[in-house]
Structures are given as C-alpha cells and as structure tokens.
Subunit: 77 residues, 2 copies
Amino acid sequence: MTDYNKHDAEILVAFGLRMREFRQNKGLSQEELAEITDLHRTYIGSAERGERNVSLINIARIAKALDVPVSSLIEDK
Amino acid sequence: MTDYNKHDAEILVAFGLRMREFRQNKGLSQEELAEITDLHRTYIGSAERGERNVSLINIARIAKALDVPVSSLIEDK
C-alpha cells in the first residue's frame, strides 16, 4: 500500500467507509459487488479499507452498482 | 491516451468541462491551478480535456483549490 499523507488518507478512508455502508445497505457481499462492477474482489476489499486511490471511472462504476449518486460516496472536507 | 468506452469517456469529459468552468470562474490559469494543486500543468490540461481518469485524491485536491465541493465536479448519470 502506498503511503498517503494524513489528509489524503482520510479522504480514502471516508470513501471506503461509505462504500461499505452502501454495499451492506444494499445487501451485497464484496464478491457480488465485485461481479457487478467487474472489479476484483480484493480491489473492493482494499477500497473499503481506504487503501485505494480509486479513480473517477471506478467511483462511477461503484456508485452505479450501489444505486447511489457519486456525490454520496465522497465526503467533502 | 487510454481508450475508454463511451460511457466512461463521457464521465471524464463531463468532469473536465466542470473543472475548466470552475477554474475559469475563479480566474485561474491552468498554470496557476497546477501550482496550487502541486500537479503538472500538462496534467491539468489533459484532465480538462477528459483524457485523465483522475483519482480521488487529485479530485479532492482540485476541488479544494477551486473552492467547490467535490460533488460539484462530478456529474451523476
């Protein structure tokens, strides 16, 4: 895992927590979300732990799979 | 430039257009935004043309520099 500075790490962690919350609210496992988004299950797991600097396209793909607006996944600081 | 599928490309182009609009509204040149965000000027230019799959940390950095919420940079489809 790349080391991020504290502020950047907080952004990724906040994203991951929201992603996990929306996934669980939708009753999906990480495996199921991985299948829907065509991303790897380990990628889903590490994104949820805030270990991935997720790109715009993957953010959009995840939001679509979770039926939430992109903006709901991103916390403004 | 990587080839993206049509939907993904639209997401990147929409992001770039908003980014440019907010930058111009703020009266900043690409060079000035590059300096504030500590990103390269050519990166700013290609992001504005929708040629970059911008990462969450850079999205947050750009939004902060432009004084806009991250969500305002991202169009939900």
